[in-house]
């Protein structure tokens, strides 16, 4: 049914009627005020406007002359007479009214007069009493002044005494200072408290040092504090101090106004010694560095992860601690010298790197790569924490170390692959050369070839999977630029995969070219045949397959290069389930009116109202350069196309149900890719509505069935 609505016609025709409307509304605006005005009477403004009428006999501006002149000039004789009679009557009435009022209120007048008379008498008595009160007050104030004058002198003396007492108390405490200092500064006591006490007393002592007794106190406390400083210095040289104690010690010495340069020197050397000791402990685990390098060293006592763990928890964390306390102690003091700490730290970290490098070199075998990756990851993370404190501590060196280790591991995998291939080849040779039991054919060449190539391929895949650990997303150093690009391309693709294939070719050719002249047994022809076939296979399919596999696994996917972009109304998967429950209760309602032919207008109205509240979706809106925005664009275009295609079809019952299932499925899974899931929802709703509209036999599928189908998928 084509319900054609005639909506808004031309836009230019409205002008005339609009202006007419404007004037109409002007008059309509005032009308409601009329009744209000009548109710409240004329406003003040209007009363002021009205001119005073002297002829109004009841008005406040009444002028008898004017009134008379007016009446005489305007009225005829009869009227004058009747007016006169009226006036006379009114005057009489007023007179009698006045009299009545007087009589009625006579008693009140009398009693008012009485009251006033009584009040007069009372007030006279009160006046006398007030005079008495005033004279008494004057006497009181005079005697009070006498008393205070008498007491003034004593008060002054009392205040003086209090001042003297306070001073004495202070002196007492000053005198006590050396004793307290001695008690607290004694070895093993509380030197921090002594320092606190000394700091308070010092200024006062310095101020009164011209008095001999105070000088004695000052000198005594000085000597005590010097002694304390001496002891602290001795403690500073103690090797067993941990970084926290060291920091405290130096802090106290600084408070004692010891020269900071010297302290700085001491601090660094002390810290250096401590860190050196830790490095030495690490080194002790390593076998002595052997210049020849090839001597068989016993396997290290602990695995690499353990080593890195200990290194980072002991050395790196102490270095962090020391660097932080150095900053807080010597920041801004003269002589702390810029770059001193940096130089100190970088020598130490260089040594640490060396140690780690030596330890890494010990990882000869193809031990657990995930362990190595975890170790490197931990190292990198701890190093980052250090680098935040000390940017100059060797960021490049650390990154290079990790990269080197990864490269080394890849190279080792290449060698392992080569060994594996040679081993396989040896097996093949053996199988070919093995004496065959009579009546039974040896393994066919195709079988051998299949085994060889599949095992090599499997090994290669396994190696790729191991190497991929280095670029895993949860590994911190995988975000380094090296691991994002160069590692994938140079090290893995070229250095591992391509190098292996090249080596394979060379080896195969070596078999073919080398005659038996060097004494080695010539390769059997069957082996040559097999290798030739293997190479052919590689050329045809395997190489491109391997490279595609590598490219898929390694060069970072396009998507990762783009930022995620912002997604509105992001909701979790669980909430999605809840939503689908909600829509299940709603969906039948949406279909219902569209297939009950009794109410076609309702659907129409309904969809129009729905559209009124939904924003217009711009299908080809501009796309931002991020993943979500691009995906949203694609989804919108696709769903709009689906909508238009559905509208061009005539669907049967099963067609409708198919669209229903498709829509539900998309609703379940598409939202997580779109920036605004309402867009997806809106378009899918429109698809569903159009499909129901275009269906000859609109019997929608049970919603539970739809859900079941989609869940299973």
């Amino acid at each position: 049914m084509a319900e054609v609505e005639a909506a808004g016609s031309g836009t230019e025709t409205g002008g005339g009627s609009e202006s007419g409307n404007a004037t109409g509304s002007g008059s309509g605006w005032r009308r409601p005020h009329g009744p209000l005005q009548r109710y409240y009477g004329p406003s003040a403004a209007e009363a002021a406007e009205a001119t005073p009428d002297p002829a109004d006999i009841n008005g406040p501006h009444f002028d008898p002359e004017v009134f008379l002149t007016k009446v005489r000039s305007e009225c005829r004789l009869g009227e004058l007479l009747s007016r006169e009679a009226t006036l006379g009557r009114e005057i009489r009435a007023l007179d009698s009214d006045m009299q009545t009022l007087l009589y009625e209120n006579y008693n009140k007048f009398i009693s008012a007069t009485d009251t006033i008379r009584k009040m007069k008498v009372d007030f006279r008595r009160m006046e006398a009493e007030m005079d008495d009160l005033a004279s008494n007050m004057a006497a009181i104030s005079a005697s009070s002044a006498r008393v205070s004058a008498a007491l003034q002198d004593r008060h002054r003396r009392g205040a003086q005494l209090a001042g003297v007492q306070a001073l004495l108390r202070k002196l007492q405490s000053l005198v006590e200072v050396p004793g307290r200092l001695r008690r607290w500064a004694a070895p093993g006591a509380d030197p921090a408290r002594a320092l606190h006490c000394y700091a308070r007393a010092r200024a006062v002592l310095r101020h009164y040092r011209h008095l001999p007794s105070f000088r004695a106190i000052e000198d005594e406390s000085h000597s005590i504090m010097a002694e304390l400083a001496q002891r602290l210095r001795a403690r500073l040289r103690d090797d067993t101090l941990d970084p926290k104690e060291l920091t405290e010690c130096v802090e106290m010495l600084l408070q004692l106004e010891e020269p900071p340069e010297e302290l700085c020197e001491e601090f660094l050397s002390q810290a250096g010694a401590r860190l050196e000791a830790e490095l030495a402990a690490l080194e002790a685990e390593l076998p002595p560095s052997d210049p020849s390098g090839t001597a068989s060293t016993p396997p290290p006592a602990s695995d690499i992860l353990d080593f890195v763990d200990r290194g980072s928890s002991a050395f790196v964390s102490n270095l962090c601690l020391l660097a932080a306390s150095y900053r807080s102690l010597f920041e801004g003091r003269p002589g702390s010298g810029d770059g001193r700490l940096e130089a100190f730290a970088s020598t130490l970290t260089t040594r640490y790197f060396e140690l780690l490098e030596r330890r890494l070199a010990l990882e000869r075998g193809l031990g657990d790569t995930s362990l190595l990756v975890r170790a490197l990851d931990r190292f990198h993370r701890r190093l980052r924490a250090l680098l935040e404190l000390l940017p100059a501590a060797g960021a490049e060196a650390g990154a290079a170390l990790v990269a080197r280790a990864a490269r080394e591991r890849v190279a080792r995998y290449l060698r392992a692959l080569q060994t594996f291939f040679l081993g396989c080849l040896g097996d093949v040779r053996q199988a070919l050369a093995a004496p065959r039991p009579p009546g039974k054919d040896g393994p066919g060449l195709p079988d051998l070839l299949a085994t060889l190539s599949s095992s090599v391929l499997g090994q290669l895949k396994a190696v790729l999977a191991y190497v991929q650990l280095f670029t895993a997303r949860d590994v911190a150093f995988a975000s380094l630029p090296y691991f994002k690009g160069e590692f994938c391309v140079e090290a893995v693709r070229e250095g591992l995969v391509v190098a292996f294939v090249r080596w394979l070719c060379r080896t195969a050719r070596g078999f073919a070219d080398s005659p038996a002249e060097r004494g080695a047994p010539a390769a059997p022809p069957a082996l040559l045949l097999l290798l030739a076939r293997l190479c052919l296979d590689y050329e045809a399919t395997t190489i491109s397959y391997i490279l595609t596999l590598t490219d898929e696994q390694f060069p970072p996917e396009v998507g990762q290069l783009f930022e995620e972009g912002v997604r509105r109304a992001q909701s979790s998967d669980s909430s999605r389930r809840a939503f689908s429950v909600y829509s299940s209760s709603r969906a039948p309602g949406r279909y219902a009116p569209s297939y009950t032919p009794s109410a076609p207008m309702d659907t129409h109205l309904l969809s129009n109202i729905q559209k009124l509240f939904s924003e217009r979706i711009d299908i080809f809106s501009p796309v931002e350069f991020n993943k979500v925005s691009v995906l949203t664009g694609i989804i919108k275009i696709s769903l709009k196309t689906l909508l238009e295609c559905v509208r061009l079809r005539t669907l049967g019952r099963f067609g409708l149900q198919q669209v229903q299932v498709d829509g539900h499925y998309l609703q379940l899974y598409l939202w997580r890719f779109a920036a605004d899931e309402r867009v997806v929802q809106g378009l899918l709703d429109e698809v569903a509505a159009s499909a129901a509209h275009r269906c000859l036999d609109p019997v929608p599928m049970e919603h539970s069935v739809v859900e079941l189908i989609c869940e299973r998928g």
């Binding site: 084509a2 054609v4 609505e5 808004g8 230019e12 711009d618 080809f620 005539t650 000859l696």
Partner: protein, 365 residues
Amino acid sequence: MQLYRAECLFPSSPKPDVLQIHIIDFDDENNIINKNVLLHQVGEIWHISASPADKGVLATCYNKTSDGKVVTCAAVWRMPKELESGSHESPDDSSSNTQTLELLCHLDNTAHGNMACVMWEPMGDGKKIISLADNNILLWDLQESSTKAVLSSSSALEGKGQLRFTSGRWSPHHNCTQIATANDTTVRGWDTRSMRQIYSIENAHGQLVRDLDFNPNKQYYLASCGDDCKVKFWDTRNVTEPVKTLEEHSHWVWNVRYNHSHDQLILTGSSDSRVILSNMVSISSEPFGHMVDDDELSDQEEQHQEEKIKEPLQDSVIATYEEHEDSVYAVEWSSADPWLFASLSYDGRLVINRVPRALKYHILL
């Protein structure tokens, strides 16, 4: 006074057996819209065209379901007499006056497939009809006052795959001997005398071609639109490159229409719910505005005229109409008033608009 007679329709629900054609009268002076409903009882209509000779005769393509299969057929119909004259009924009984179309004849397509569209010979006597059915072009002669349709000639498009015409247009030039058809991304021209292909624009659009229209005043000029959101203008003598391309829409363009008298005005409707009116002066028949004979020019006018020549109007979008809430599937110019046009969208909303007055005066003066 009836000024506007739009015959627009849209295929909507196939469910009721009775479908309607709404004849909308738009009275310009009183700004009154009046509709008359005609019942089309055989199925939903996908294409409609009116006879150029007889106002009361029209042809439709419609869907018919039989045994669960949908077939598209075509037929010629006559409207009831009182509507034909365009007589103006009083608006209050407009709801009650539903009338039924009188069937004149079927275009028998049992051997040819689904009908995509029907075209009348422009400016003809209403006796020749061409219909496109799947990959066939069928030329019919209507005889015995249109009650009998005789297939006079036909041609089939041969090629790989399943070819199907989507749309076609009969050129009003060259003595009405040319038609243009669209199938998939290709636009083809045909000579109706020999029923042979005369030109072919391969890949006219990146995706499906939806509609075509001939410039009514300039022979060889053809406009096309399609799913690649573009509108292209072609010179059929040189079809390697389009003369001009418009890319204003953001979704499939379903309709393109030249104004019947001022062919610089181009109307397009799209499923992005917009109707766009463009002014393509540079390729119109009046590239420098309205030409005035030299003799009639006074000096002042001459000066004025020179200015105009110096500054020809630029090709531009005049207006974008966004009144529709849903995809627009049909746009059409009024045949009575060249400044009036209507557009129809999926939700059944018909919007009548006017060319902006400023532009109208610019073109006329």
